[in-house]
């Protein structure tokens, strides 16, 4: 499968677009089109008639990793304000039109997600973009959202898996924007001034810093016109490139135990990842799958044979400049030490022996079909396209991923496993009962 990047004649609706390209049409799926509006806003669009729904993501580059020092949580707070409904009339309109919305702040971007019936696209976008472009940043609103973030932090701290994940980030990225919760801390959020939020907004919510991903049953021309109409007036501009994030801390990473009085322990082993690239993404996705994605994966024996856990898994978390690969299991508190030893042995064996040709082929097959399944719905596909775009891989990678996966070799994957899973670079965290 190859990338098709065909520059077609601009249609009437897209006459003002500076760039107009399509990719992916030859694989039987609707083409994914990239364009840049005159104000500099990047649009990734796909017409897909599988439902009468439109999924739309607004991605603002520069997430929690690029927050000002001591102001952790400001990216999340600002994104909340950018979707905060200003009055009851708007709430009523959104409610009656069944708007589904959500937001999150990530390392490298903040994401606002909308899904709605396409017949309501115009009034919903009119109101939503007005909020986005002119958010009410007042004491009362900020206080309310700060209280809500406090509540979210409590729920986060009630979750042992989330605690383990935060501890792993601290081990590798402590002192940078990649460490800590995107919700910030009581102190950092409390220190944020209204003026700072407004400055943050003015610096980041500029067209040249925003990517729109939209997947809709509208045809390409009306879809392009809809986006142009509602997002074409976002102020142009682009912030200075955020300062480079410091490199991953050097090892060793002291093992960490967090006491939580519960029945099970979460045992987590993580290693840092190199900066994201298409090759790295494909390679590490494959390793993640072979190591700990369900029955037949390498860590599965800790469940079926060692009987240590119900949940045992591996997951990769990618950022632009780094990332982490975690292997996690949840085991009875009394088995914590044994589980740690067995997980370490399984990871050592994986590193020492690598994978066989059969595992390699099967892993590629599962990885490929899982990618299709995971991106079947418009909402999830919009999420993946947005992540690829803001992480620097480019939305085109969506269609190039299968080819990238197919071009991997057994030798390079085994070499990567050996390099990544160096025990000297591993961080161990346990969250659970007892000492």
């Amino acid at each position: 499968m190859k990338i098709v990047r065909a520059f077609s004649l601009p249609c009437a609706a897209a006459a003002l677009l500076l760039v107009f390209g399509a990719f992916g049409a030859e694989n039987g799926r609707p083409a994914i089109r990239r364009s840049i509006l005159p104000n500099g806003l990047t649009v990734i669009a796909q017409s897909d008639g599988s439902s009468a729904v439109t999924a739309l993501e607004i991605l603002i580059r520069g997430g929690s990793a690029a927050e000002p020092a001591g102001r952790a949580g400001i990216s999340h707070l600002m994104t909340r304000l950018a979707v905060d409904i200003p009055d009851m009339d708007v709430a009523r309109d959104f409610m009656v039109r069944a708007l589904q919305s959500g937001m999150t702040s990530r390392d490298d971007d903040a994401v606002i997600h909308f899904e709605f019936l396409t017949e309501f696209a115009d009034p919903i976008l009119k109101a939503a973009v007005k909020i986005f472009t002119d958010p009410l940043i007042t004491d009362v609103r900020v206080d309310r959202l700060v209280e809500s973030m406090r509540h979210q932090r409590r729920i986060e701290s009630d979750d042992a898996l989330a605690l383990a994940g935060l501890a792993q980030r601290e081990a590798f990225f402590g002192g940078t924007g990649h460490a800590g919760s995107v919700l910030g801390t009581e102190e950092s959020v409390g220190a944020i001034k209204i003026r700072e939020i407004r400055d943050f907004y003015k610096q980041r919510y500029l067209a040249g810093n925003i990517v729109i991903v939209v997947i809709s049953d509208l045809d390409p021309e009306p879809l392009a016109a809809l986006i142009e109409k509602h997002f074409g007036n976002i102020p142009p501009g682009k912030p200075d490139e955020a300062g480079s994030t410091p490199a991953v801390k050097d090892p060793p990473y002291p093992p960490r135990t967090i006491a939580k009085e519960q029945v099970q322990s979460v045992v987590s082993c993580a290693v840092p990842l190199p900066p994201i690239s298409r090759r790295n993404y494909a390679r590490i996705s494959l390793i993640e799958n072979i190591l700990g994605r369900g029955p037949g994966s390498r860590l599965w024996s800790l469940r079926t044979e060692k009987k240590l856990a119900y949940s045992v898994s591996c997951s990769a978390d990618f950022f632009r400049r780094a990332g982490l690969l975690s292997a996690v299991l949840e085991t009875d508190g009394g088995k914590t030490g044994l589980a740690r030893d067995e997980l370490a042995a399984a990871l050592d064996g994986f590193r020492e022996n690598g994978i066989s040709a059969e595992e390699f082929e099967a892993g590629r097959a599962v990885c490929g079909s899982e990618f299709l399944r995971a991106n079947e719905t418009k909402g999830s596909r919009a999420g993946t396209l947005g992540f690829f775009e803001t992480s620097g891989l480019g939305a085109e990678f969506f269609d190039a991923f299968p080819a990238e996966l197919a071009s991997l070799t057994l030798e390079e994957v085994n070499a990567e496993i050996k390099r990544l899973l160096d025990p000297a670079k591993a961080s161990w965290v346990v969250v659970g009962p007892g000492k």
């Binding site: 039987g28 799926r29 008639g49 599988s50 439902s51 009468a52 729904v53 709430a91 009523r92 959104f94 409610m95 009656v96 039109r97 069944a98 708007l99 919305s101 899904e115 019936l117 017949e119 509540h151 409590r154 729920i155 701290s157 009630d158 042992a160 049953d217 939580k260 009085e261 519960q262 029945v263 099970q264 369900g294 029955p295 037949g296 994966s297 599965w300 469940r303 079926t304 044979e305 009987k307 240590l308 856990a309 119900y310 949940s311 949840e330 085991t331 009875d332 059969e358 099967a362 892993g363 097959a365 599962v366 490929g368 079909s369 299709l372 399944r373 079947e376 719905t377 418009k378 909402g379």
Partner: protein, 460 residues
């Protein structure tokens, strides 16, 4: 015509999704533009089959469902259905070991899973369409070739005990499980789906085989396939693969309905948490009940979307008794439940519980749309009814996007539905009025018969 039938079935599926649902026509009820064809038939051995052809991705999703779940256990065998599901999925069969099953599945680029409920057990597999026959044969082996070794069962019991421990550490899962157990106490639905550690320990291979022989038969099963293949080919392959399984004993008779709680009952748990969690459950209509339509919409209005009524009642002005409040409606074959799920500051537990129940009792007098009031008040009255109907319309449309979701929902519907497939969900929903919602609220919330679970932080 096939498209219309498929749409009607999908609308029925809303029950399975527990998403609530209704819509005031005249919105377009047309299915999506991508080509679909659908067929339902029954094999001679009694296996009921649903096929849906669609071409959005080159995958096929196969969900096999058995009309058996935790309701078919006894107090002594609590957790058996779930343990059997684990054994079938992960411990092999009389043809191959569990590790060989897993390896073959990965070799074919497939992903599989299963879930056990009170009424049903579903086995799911998604794989590239070119491996469709392998997927069918895998499902056939999984369901109809049981062989359990004592050692394998004992190993899987320990995995299940870990699963139970995991639930005990999760306030959301624990709260929902306890609410269901309390609401249906004394009835088979009141047993934990995952079983109790004691019952799990006592389970024998004999117990499981007896259960399996009685219930895992084609005339007590369904198969739902959604995928990127011509429907004629799907039908031919299904008939080839499944036709030789012999018919088994007749399915068991339906359970009696649970008796209503005589009064409100409460359980309080402490955990190492910072937030408090409150669950308030009350009985609702079951899967085949006419009242289910109104229950779907009522749950949507009370606890979903941008401004759910329950959250609004607990967050009036500066007095915020709950940080979040959802209302869920779960329809089982012979019972139903509304479950309010609140997260809150621990100091607000008592007040939130009191206020939430008081609000629920008042719902039968609430206004749900501007037409319910007169004069200027119309301007201030939210059109909750229209919003809920539109939301369901959205959910129906979105349900088309996921092949596995469709297959699983259809399988569950085929297992739980007692009526024919000619019911037009939209028509029933379209006729709903505010009075219907008040009647539903009156039936569900005015009796002093709530199951209340409070989870509060333990003292540190």
């Amino acid at each position: 015509m096939a498209q219309r039938r498929a749409l009607n079935l999908l609308l029925l599926i809303l029950f399975s999704l527990n998403v609530g649902g209704a819509t005031a026509l005249p919105f377009s009820a047309d299915p999506p533009s991508s080509p679909v064809a659908e067929k339902t038939f029954t094999l001679d051995n009694g296996l009921r089959v649903f096929l849906l052809e669609r071409h959005s991705v080159a995958l096929v999703n196969i969900v096999a469902g058995i009309n058996a779940g935790s309701r078919d256990e006894t107090d002594e065998t609590s957790g058996l259905a779930h343990a059997l599901e684990h054994c079938l999925l992960f411990r092999g069969n009389d043809l191959r070991s569990g590790s060989e099953v897993a390896r073959r599945i990965r070799d074919h680029g497939a992903v599989f899973n299963a879930r056990t409920g009170q009424d049903e057990t579903l086995f799911e597999i998604t794989l590239p369409a070119e491996h469709f026959v392998f997927g069918l044969e895998n499902q056939k082996e999984l369901l109809f070739r049981l062989k359990i070794e004592e050692t394998e069962l004992e190993a899987e019991k320990e995995v299940i005990r870990e699963e139970i421990r995991q639930i005990e550490d999760d306030p959301f899962r624990l709260g929902r499980a306890l609410a269901s157990q309390l609401l249906f106490s004394g009835h088979p639905y009141g047993r934990p789906v995952y079983g109790t550690p004691d019952a799990i320990r006592r389970l024998t291979v004999r117990d499981i085989e007896d259960f399996y022989r009685r219930l895992f038969v084609p005339n007590n099963a369904v198969l739902a396939v959604v995928g990127d293949l011509p429907i004629a080919e799907m039908e031919a392959r299904v008939r080839e693969v499944f036709a030789d399984i012999p018919r088994g004993p007749d399915p068991p008779l339906p359970l009696p309905r649970p008796r209503p709680l005589p009064k409100t009952v409460e359980i309080e748990r402490t955990m190492d948490v910072d937030e408090a969690y409150l669950f308030i459950a009350s009985a609702g209509p079951d899967y085949g009940d006419e009242g289910q339509y109104a229950a779907d919409i009522l749950a949507e209005i009370l606890g979903q979307g941008i401004r759910p009524m329950l959250a609004a009642a607990l967050q009036e002005g500066r007095r915020v008794l709950a940080n979040s409040a959802r209302m869920e409606y779960v329809a089982l074959k012979r019972a139903g439940a509304f479950v309010a799920v609140l997260t809150l500051e621990p100091k607000n537990l008592s007040a939130a519980k009191r206020e939430a129940i008081a609000f629920l009792r008042r719902v039968r007098t609430e206004n749900f749309q501007p037409d319910d009031v007169l004069g200027d008040e119309r301007y201030f009255t939210f059109d909750y009814l229209e919003a809920a109907k539109n939301n369901v319309r959205f959910l129906v449309q979105r349900a088309w996007e996921s092949g596995l979701g469709l297959a699983a929902s259809v399988a569950r519907h085929m297992l739980l539905s007692t009526g024919g497939s000619d019911i037009v969900y939209l028509d029933r929903i379209a006729a709903l009025t505010s009075n219907d919602l008040r009647d539903a609220a009156d039936a569900a919330f005015t009796k002093d018969a709530y199951a209340v679970i409070a989870i509060r932080p333990q003292k540190k």
